[in-house]
């Protein structure tokens, strides 16, 4: 049956592999837009398209400033760079400064419309009825030094409003001058020459990024000393980020990989655990990818990255399984059976944890939930179905050092005499936690989390200082039904911005709306020409006839201006006929900007960084809320299995790690961010796993379990904790939270599950073949669930002195002390009845006064607690155990196998023959030993009732 299930799973995995491969052939549909993580209802498709267009246009911009003390050298280098970039197909140059010819074309197109073109300041002056100030300005320009007046201009534009309009156009790079064809500026003893343009490829294309940046930097070697190169553009940041991430992932990844390999191989002395663990993780990722692609159609890289971190959890299952090679269990099925309950409960709680993420309206978290949940389930199934078939590791002794460490940790949490130490630790945690709480700060600013190259940031600031060119951080999107309405809304916004003292660029600054052109012409007429023109002309002694501007046939339009090609920046501002971008200079307070847009229809402040920060903030809060929900959902399961107190303690150990980790990091000055919160979601899952694994074996204080959990912790630290050394703040916060959280989770893990003994369902005989149904993993899973729902039964007492061991053959139970020694042993017992075999394990403690045997079934549940004092056997057994399983028979078989021949002879009225490693009881029962009975394998065959036992024993220290 197991083979069939394993084969079915193999076919499913192959199918999913084929699915992913077929999708990936055309390139995996990955999404990288952080905004796609926002709830859908927040997104307006038209707005999104406009934002994307602006984002693309900003991302494509690139500016290189070349400085040299000699003008000629700077220009030559700029020319060389331009040629090489254009020749390599990397750049299409765009000139930010209109050249002479362009200005002439601009003037030719604009001049006929001059009556309706007013500079912002002039317009404000006229609206305030300060026409005389413009008249005075005109006089100063005519009479003052360097006046631009000539007779033709004065006749057509006596107050020289048109030059004023041209002079105030918000042209970018306004600190540069066009020096013989090259935009240039001289500062700090250097001549700076500007090379600007648009990328000829995608800024997000890694290969293009690399080629472009290499081409820009490539010339550096050929340059003579004295050159300085400043760079501005998304492509430089993207390339630096990718390079840093690559270098880091190679460095950290290599260290992590080698560390994990060395660790796993050194501990297990075999490559099998490593290979199978990789298989479990790989299948998990493959299944997650396949299901996500099928459900969502595409995969967000954030979900993928976070989902990939489930490696940290999936590896727990594999290592828990392989920890079993340190036990006497040699059969894979026994090993699986031993870890099955912990693993199952761990998987269920973790999947519940992720399922709560799916409850959130955030599409990103839904993807994370599905990706992680499916991935974990697939890893779990791989361990359960494949490991027992593939794994061939012989038993190994537990490295004594590790064993002692594990025992120390068990002792700390379980021994009464360590209560003082526990109290001290709790006090310390409380004090440190409170101190951390006082210093806890949150930080959702993506700029601080991104790890932007400081060198490039400094270059960007210098370019801004030298040229006025910057990377706009916030902008407005203005939408209207048509161009006219969009222009009117530009103007309404511009009026507010102007009043706030913010300088801005909008299409309407270049081409006022038709309405405003009409209004402005009327305003000039009413407040300037009518009251002041006659006196002005008299003052100057102008005799020639005035040539007032003739109203043009139609208003000026954006298309007129764009056709001149003189203002390339207009293409970036007018996104389409009815959608405009309005950029602001500098970095005014966002609140001020959003107030400016308030109440103007069709105008929205877009703050890409702010939007991302808001997403991160919302996700951080959401993740914390969901963390609480998933903890609340896990608790009943844990309580069902470990009792109220035990379950609460398991949860407390996990929550302790979750709560303490950010507080301890706060003490180190690490602010709590979105990335820390996402790490905590993982920490809760991992810590619950550890708690459950430990709780399962708390009663036995099984060192192997803690060693397995410790290994799992170390591999998680190697894969995620090392990220704490990343140069990227967000990654560092994630890594540091994982490092501290997972370490705490391990240290706190043995805390919970302590009262299981009081609650565990008792079990009667485990020899019976009636257990065969439990051998099927799925059946076991359901049984576990049933048990979790609270099956339990009352204890019972069986007064007995004689036990029937075969037809016509009975055994008078001797006294426990008749064994003649004390024994503390751990036993693996395989019982065969007919064609069915069932395995369970037992802890046996024999003193002169009593025999105590605790049996756990293959699910790890305490099925049976048997206490035998002279003349009386007390049994606690699970209600669901078949009545036919009698505890006294278990005892009788133990006596027949282990008690001395002389005692047995008395008990059986002499029906015992023993020679060497063999003992015959009556004609129907046969006992064989390999090695010492208490440290080897013993077999009992009952021919009359057709059953056979194989008991492997290891004595343990009391």
């Amino acid at each position: 049956m197991r083979r069939v299930l394993a084969l079915v799973w193999l076919l499913l995995v192959l199918g999913m592999g084929g699915h992913v491969a077929s999708v990936a052939r055309g390139g995996l549909p990955l999404q990288s837009d952080l905004m796609a993580l926002l709830p859908r209802e927040d997104q307006d498709p038209a707005l999104q398209a406009a934002k994307d267009k602006v984002a693309r246009s900003l991302a494509d911009r690139v500016v290189v400033l070349i400085g040299h003390p000699e003008r000629r050298a700077a220009r030559a280098e700029a020319e060389r760079l331009r040629q090489s970039l254009v020749a390599a197909g990397l750049l299409s140059p765009v000139f930010d400064i209109p050249g002479d010819a362009a200005v002439k074309r601009l003037g030719t197109v604009l001049f006929p419309h001059r009556a309706g073109l007013l500079g912002e300041a002039d317009r404000r002056a006229l609206l305030a009825e300060r026409g005389e100030s413009l008249a005075t300005r005109a006089l100063s320009q005519i009479f003052g030094f360097a006046g631009m007046a000539d007779s033709r201009l004065l006749a057509r534009d006596p107050f020289m409003l048109f030059p004023a309009f041209l002079g105030q156009l918000p042209v970018p790079a306004n600190r540069l001058v066009l020096d013989d064809g090259w935009p240039s500026v001289t500062a700090d003893g250097l001549t700076w020459v500007l090379l600007s343009g648009r990328l000829a490829g995608g800024a997000t294309d890694l290969d293009f990024q690399r080629r472009f940046v290499q081409a820009v930097e490539g010339g550096a070697a050929d340059r003579t000393p004295g050159y300085r190169v400043l760079r501005l553009g998304a492509v430089f940041f993207a390339e630096a980020g990718a390079r840093q991430a690559m270098e880091e992932s190679v460095r950290i990844g290599l260290f992590s990989l080698l560390g994990t390999i060395v660790l796993v191989v050194a501990v297990f002395r075999s490559f099998q655990p490593l290979l199978l663990a990789v298989a479990a993780i790989g299948v998990g990722l493959l299944a997650a990818l396949s299901v996500c692609l099928a459900v969502f159609g595409s995969l967000h890289v954030a979900a993928q990255m976070f989902g990939a971190s489930l490696i940290g959890i999936a590896v727990d299952y594999a290592l828990l399984y392989f920890g079993q090679i340190f036990t006497p269990r040699t059969r894979p099925s026994e090993r699986l059976a031993a870890v099955m309950p912990g693993m199952t409960l761990g998987m269920i709680t973790t999947v519940i944890g992720y399922a709560t993420l799916a409850l959130s309206p955030f599409p990103g978290l839904k993807q994370v939930a599905v990706f992680s949940g499916i991935g974990l389930l697939a890893s779990f199934l791989t361990v359960v179905l494949w490991f027992p078939l593939l794994e061939r590791c012989g038993p190994r002794p537990l490295p004594p050092g590790l064993g002692r460490l594990a025992e120390g940790l068990w002792a700390l949490w379980t021994e009464r005499r360590r209560a003082g130490a526990r109290r001290v630790l709790a006090g310390l945690a409380l004090v440190l936690g409170l101190a951390g709480l006082a210093r806890l700060e949150t930080d959702d600013d993506v700029r601080r989390q991104q790890g932007l190259s400081p060198v490039l940031l400094a270059e960007q600031a210098e370019i801004q200082r030298l040229t006025g060119l910057g990377q706009p951080t916030r902008f407005f999107l203005v939408q209207g039904r048509d161009e006219e309405e969009a222009l009117q809304r530009d103007e309404a916004l511009g009026d507010r911005l102007g009043a706030l003292g913010v300088s801005w660029q909008s299409p309407a600054r270049f081409v006022p709306s038709a309405r405003r052109q009409g209004e402005d012409a009327a305003l000039v007429e009413r407040t300037l020409l009518a009251p002041h023109l006659a006196a002005f002309r008299a003052q100057l002694g102008m005799t020639a006839a005035a040539e007032p501007a003739q109203p043009p046939g139609r208003p000026l339009t954006l298309a007129d201006l764009r056709a001149t090609g003189a203002l390339p920046m207009l293409d970036a501002l007018a996104l389409d006929g009815a959608t405009h971008m309005v950029a602001v200079d500098g970095a005014p307070a966002p609140e001020m900007l959003s107030r400016a847009a308030d109440g103007i229809e069709g105008v929205r402040l877009i703050d890409p960084t702010g939007d991302i920060n808001a997403v991160l903030h919302a996700y951080r809060l959401r993740a914390m809320g969901l963390l609480a929900v998933s903890a609340a959902l896990m608790l009943p399961l844990l309580m069902g299995r470990y009792g109220r107190r035990g379950g609460a303690l398991v949860m407390a150990s996990a929550l302790g790690a979750v709560v303490l980790a950010p507080l301890l990091l706060a003490l180190l000055g690490v602010a709590f961010s979105f990335f820390g919160a996402m790490a905590l979601v993982l920490v809760l899952s991992i810590a619950t796993d550890y708690g459950v694994f430990a709780a399962e074996d708390r009663e036995r204080r099984d060192s192997v379990t803690l060693v397995s959990v410790g290994l799992a912790m170390l591999t998680t630290l190697l894969s995620f904790g090392l990220l704490a050394f990343s140069a990227v703040a967000g990654v560092r916060a994630f890594g540091a939270t994982m490092l501290v959280g997972v370490l705490l989770a391990f240290l706190l893990a043995p805390m919970g599950g302590g009262r299981r003994a009081d609650r565990g369902p008792p079990e009667s005989g485990v020899w019976s073949a009636r257990f065969h149904s439990l051998r099927k993993p799925m059946t076991r899973l359901f049984v576990v669930l049933a048990v979790l729902c609270g099956a339990c039964a009352a204890p019972m007492e069986t007064p007995t002195d004689r036990v029937r061991v075969a037809p016509g053959l009975s055994l008078a139970l001797p006294a426990p002390g008749d064994l003649g020694r004390t024994v503390e042993a751990f036993q693996m017992i395989s019982a065969r009845h007919g064609a069915e075999t069932f395995t369970f394990e037992a802890r046996l403690s024999v003193t002169s006064e009593r025999v105590l045997m605790v049996g756990t079934d293959s699910m790890g549940r305490r099925a049976l607690t048997l206490t035998w004092v002279p003349g009386r056997v007390a049994v606690e057994r699970a209600a669901w155990l078949p009545e036919g399983l009698r505890p006294e028979n278990i005892l009788a078989d133990m006596v027949m196998i282990f008690w001395p021949e002389a005692v047995l002879r008395r008990a059986l009225d002499g029906a015992v023959r023993q020679s060497g490693h063999q003992r015959r009881i009556g004609d129907v029962i046969e006992v064989l030993w390999e090695g010492e009975p208490w440290s080897g394998t013993a077999r009992l065959r009952n021919l009359a009732w057709d059953y056979e036992l194989e008991i492997r024993s290891v004595t343990v220290a009391p």
Partner: protein
Amino acid sequence: MRRWLVAFCLLAAPAASETVLKDGDVLRGRFVQERHLTGFAAPLRSAGSFVIAPGRGLIWRAETPFPITTVVSPAGLLQSVGGTETTRLPAQRLPFLTRLYDMMAGALAGDWRALEGSFQVMRQGAAIKLSPLGGDDPAASQIAGITAKLGQFVDEVEIAKPGGDFDRLTFLDQSLGGGPLGADDAALLERVGK
């Protein structure tokens, strides 16, 4: 404005003498400016004083008919009427100003090479004639020709424009020295860049 700056390059050119303006020198004097514009009955006449400090800038104070002060420095141009600022053009906003300032500075130091790139320079005794070479230097393209009469300093300049307008500047009472820049003048030059 451009042609004025070009013209001004000539102002301090110590043509016939050996006097060379150097950093720290201050040239002071008075001027009369006549702008002959087509369509105007009489030339627009203004008069006042000026101060030139090489490397720092020029202050041009018209007193009649209006009190207009123009300050030009490497940082740009500032104009005020009766103490009220009417025009402010940072060098960055005024294409070519930097280049012109270089030319002016060159001429002030007796270095004509900056002008020779765009003008043909001809000396005839106490006169100097500049004709644009017709290149793409926008500074030269709006000037039809410049004629200057030279004494110890430049005494008179006439600048002809392509449309038939012309400006005539007459310089009087020029003196080199007379102490460093006054605090007011220094402050004015500083204000341009602010």
